[in-house]
Symmetry: C2
Subunit: 120 residues, 2 copies
């Protein structure tokens, strides 16, 4: 389970992460909200913690888990080159549509409102 990619391949773990976006939660809360067995939750949390997705603090008998940016940012970094790739394609599409704009008589249609198109 070394890689962050393998870690988020598991649906229950993604659910836990999504749950933690709003605020930190105890193991029991996660268990109830996601309807998962308690050992399952603990095991997933362990994996998430060791991979740098979450961290925990002890509060009496409970443990509160919260998100930690590290691993998620690693994912984001991996995506960066691809993001560049597809935004280039969007640019090309926009330029193409702009050419259509200029060569088409200004006849407003209901289905597509070109004015809302935006150049970044």
């Amino acid at each position: 389970m070394e890689s962050v990619f393998a870690v988020i391949a598991e649906p229950n773990r993604r659910a836990i992460l999504s749950l933690l976006v709003s605020s930190e939660q105890s193991v029991g809360e996660i268990e109830r909200r996601l309807r998962m067995a308690q050992p399952t939750v603990s095991k997933h949390l362990r994996v998430l913690r060791e991979a740098g997705f979450v961290e925990s603090t002890v509060e009496a008998q409970r443990r509160l888990y919260r998100l930690k940016p590290d691993a998620l940012q690693e994912l984001d970094a991996w995506l960066a080159p691809f993001r560049r790739f597809w935004s280039a394609r969007v640019d090309a599409l926009e330029r193409h549509l702009d050419r259509l704009d200029r060569s088409t008589p200004p006849k407003t249609t209901k289905t597509t409102n070109r004015k809302t198109r935006r150049r970044r």
Copy 2:
């Protein structure tokens, strides 16, 4: 292998995607560059295609594979809420450092150059 997350959990598949960022490649080229057996390449490409990461066109006997934004954008969309989360934390850190700035006598240190800090 329904989910895009499971698809990119496989290291060889990520390698293929990274290779395709630069330009489209034939199966044989991928095979040689990544030193993978040919059936392995074909099988991974099938998975990537069915998940919407790549598409292919036939060029005589070869098949050229190239990136397709769909699945990658799906990944990016999933990351969005978390991105908001950690940029909030960066903001908080910056505000904290700014407070330190104002309450600290302007004594320039070698190790940290606060002037380079940037507000987005």
